[in-house]
């Protein structure tokens, strides 16, 4: 690992720890400065409120001249985040990256993305479609995911029950949730898709 990258990372961890937001966390996964774990709090007044979201951060050899690779570890239901891989569609992680940007800015930008979805520039087409066609259902689904995967406070009993129904048919829990979310919580549609 290049000297400059290590030095930057050290400073960036301190910057986040000192930061007064109290909504960000950044720590090393190993001693090599290449893998970090980030954590952001779901922004208030959003379906992600109260949840804690973990992020995998990989630092390339050429950091900070190339962007870090960041994806959600915690499963998220959001138009700009892949519900499957956690990949994030965010310009500063691609071509709008600038060497002067920091991981703190990156984490804050991801947090801001949770608060303001860009359904016209989607990462996950299924989620984006739901967002556009049925926003209340999207919100409830996102809240449910936040509850199940990110320790959010809102329990959606109806959705839990539907997942349970599929569990009893022998479907894996996460697959059941994805299928139900995709089919707007229509048990029949989800079942059909899983068993076809």
């Amino acid at each position: 690992m290049a000297n400059i990258a290590a030095k930057r990372i050290k400073r960036e961890i301190i910057e986040v720890v000192k930061g007064e937001e109290g909504v960000l966390k950044l720590e090393l996964v190993n001693n090599a400065w290449t893998d970090l774990l980030g954590e952001i709090a779901g922004p208030p007044d959003t379906p992600y409120e109260g949840g804690l979201f973990k992020l995998e951060i990989k630092i390339p050899e050429t950091y900070p001249f190339n962007p870090p690779k960041v994806r959600f570890i915690t499963k998220v239901w959001h138009p700009n985040v892949s519900s499957v891989t956690g990949a994030i569609c965010l310009d500063i992680l691609k071509d709008q990256w600038a060497a002067a940007l920091t991981l703190r800015t990156v984490l804050l930008s991801i947090q801001a993305l949770l608060a303001s979805a860009e359904p016209n520039d989607p990462q996950d087409a299924v989620v984006a479609r739901q967002y556009i066609e049925n926003e209340p259902l999207f919100e409830l689904t996102a809240r449910h995911w936040t509850n199940v995967y990110a320790n959010g406070p809102t329990v959606v009993w109806e959705f839990n029950q539907k997942v349970q129904t599929l569990l009893e048919m022998g479907v894996d829990e996460h697959n059941a949730r994805v299928a139900l979310s995709t089919y707007n919580w229509d048990v029949e549609g989800a079942t059909e898709q899983i068993f076809s």
């Binding site: 400059i4 400073r11 001249f65 891989t85 500063i92 600038a98």
Partner: protein, 485 residues
């Protein structure tokens, strides 16, 4: 007729006459090809040094006129597609606008020295003040960081579009600034090579020959419709307008559709899951980073869709069309299935013929080689001279040319609407097919220097080919409106 309007740009050095590599000993009268050849197109084939000279002329013109460094002139020329005269005019009207458009200057002036900067925001070091530098935007970073930044960018193939390191700053680093921070000779050389390539790519009068490892560069003045250029080095026929293999009578948009379709249908799965694709605008290879379908090319900054390679701008509301298309086959009802089967049948019909001519053309290379040795043997055995057998050689060349045109009639026909025009087209196509099969048979069996019969056949075949092109090659319509660059 189409070619006439091209002639105004002509300096007619006769070089361009040798399109298909016909043997050069032209004792015979030179025919005005612009009259007889519907594909006639004026162009030249230049060496790297000649193009460098050409570019330098523009750079010098601009830097003298505007009293700016050649490095800045390059940034501006690149942004304005090398239209020096337009730049000079606009500069006189509003110099600031030109500088901002070219990203020589930031669009909003940077707030002057918000802090007495002691540490570099990129590396967190605190080097002495004199080892900081900045572009016109005033974003100051230490020289070590600039060097690293440039090294990383150059290694990724970026040259003209390297930007400032500050967040949301799009000011571009001119050549002299970059080179003052890059010392490694290999890296400097790489940078200048990329720079040259980028200049050629951004210049509307220039196009690299796409032949493998080929160094030649085409120059022409019209960039619209199918425009045949032939490389002096590798003899490849290319369309100057779009860079695809020359494709008359099919137009540029159609051939792109067709070639994409062929690639898609052969290996649909492979194609979609592949991790690299070429930028649809500048053709640089781009690796998919993560799962995001909104791609931006690091080199030309073109935004496009990974799935359909279309412009991202039209994906805002239409994204769902883009993804739904791939999903549809599963939902299709029976009658749609039948339709799909029908569509596939139609496609295969044209594809098989297209593919067959492509294969034949490759074989034709071998035919030419064996024909050459056959003629040599005859000449050695005293059966006439090369001049006597010349007609045979010419006819083989003609055969190749006809096959080439025929190959590209299939995508044309595939996308044509049904009706009398298509019927006429397919009639002419069939005529040409028949004629070249005749010719092919005769060439392979020619045993005498008696040229009469074969020459007659050649004449008919070439007439059929040019008729088809004259009737269906649409470039003369565009010629009037095509911009003179």
């Amino acid at each position: 007729m189409s070619a006439d309007s091209d002639m105004e740009y002509s300096d007619n050095d006769g070089d361009e006459y040798d399109y298909y590599g016909e043997i050069d000993d032209c004792d015979m009268e030179t025919v005005d090809q612009s009259k007889t050849d519907p594909e006639y197109f004026l162009f030249s084939c230049l060496r790297v040094e000649e193009v460098e000279k050409l570019l330098n002329e523009s750079i010098e013109l601009l830097s003298n006129n505007l009293q700016i460094t050649p490095s800045l002139a390059k940034v501006i020329l690149h942004a304005y597609e090398w239209n020096a005269q337009e730049i000079i005019n606009r500069y006189k009207e509003n110099a600031n606008e030109v500088l901002i458009f070219s990203r020589v200057k930031p669009c909003v002036p940077t707030a002057p020295g918000t802090s007495t900067r002691t540490h570099c925001a990129v590396c967190a070091n605190m080097p002495p003040l004199q080892s900081f530098s900045a572009l016109t935007c005033g974003h100051s970073f230490c020289n070590d960081c600039w060097s690293m930044h440039f090294e990383v960018q150059i290694m990724q193939g970026v040259s003209n579009t390297i930007q400032c390191m500050a967040q949301e700053c799009e000011v571009r680093a001119p050549e002299d600034f970059v080179l003052s921070h890059v010392t490694k000779p290999s890296l400097r050389e790489r940078y200048q090579q990329f720079m040259f390539k980028d200049h050629v790519k951004s210049h509307p009068q220039l196009r690299f020959c796409p032949g493998p490892n080929c160094q030649w560069i085409f120059r022409a003045w019209v960039r619209q419709g199918p425009r045949r250029v032939e490389c002096k080095g590798c003899e490849l026929l290319t369309c100057f307008s779009c860079g695809a293999p020359h494709h008359a009578p099919t137009d540029c948009a159609t051939i792109r559709l067709w070639l994409t379709k062929c690639a898609d249908d052969s290996e649909t799965v492979n194609y979609i899951s592949a991790n690299t694709k070429d930028c649809p605008k500048c053709q640089i290879c781009i690796e998919k980073n993560g799962g995001c379908n909104h791609m931006q090319c690091g080199s030309c900054r073109h935004d496009f869709c990974w799935v359909c390679l279309g412009d991202w701008k039209c994906h805002g509301s239409e994204y769902y069309e883009c993804s739904r298309y791939k999903e549809d086959p599963n939902l299709a009802s029976d009658s749609q299935h039948a339709q799909a089967r029908e569509a596939l049948k139609k496609y295969l019909h044209y594809y098989e013929r297209w593919e067959n001519h492509a294969r034949s053309l490759k074989l034709e290379e071998q035919t030419l080689a064996s024909l050459k040795s056959r003629i040599n043997q005859k000449v050695m055995a005293g059966e006439g001279t090369w001049i006597d057998w010349q007609y045979l050689w010419d006819s083989a060349k003609l055969l190749k040319r006809c096959r080439y045109t025929l190959q590209y009639t299939y995508p044309f026909a595939y996308y044509m609407d049904n009706g009398p025009r298509k019927e006429l087209f397919e009639y002419q196509q069939a005529q040409l097919e028949a004629e070249i099969e005749n010719l092919s048979w005769k060439v392979e069996r020619a045993e005498t220097t008696d040229r009469g019969d074969l020459e007659n056949q050649m004449d008919i075949a070439e007439k059929r080919r040019t008729t088809l092109l004259k009737d269906f090659l649409d470039i003369h319509i565009n010629n009037a409106s095509s911009s003179k660059i």
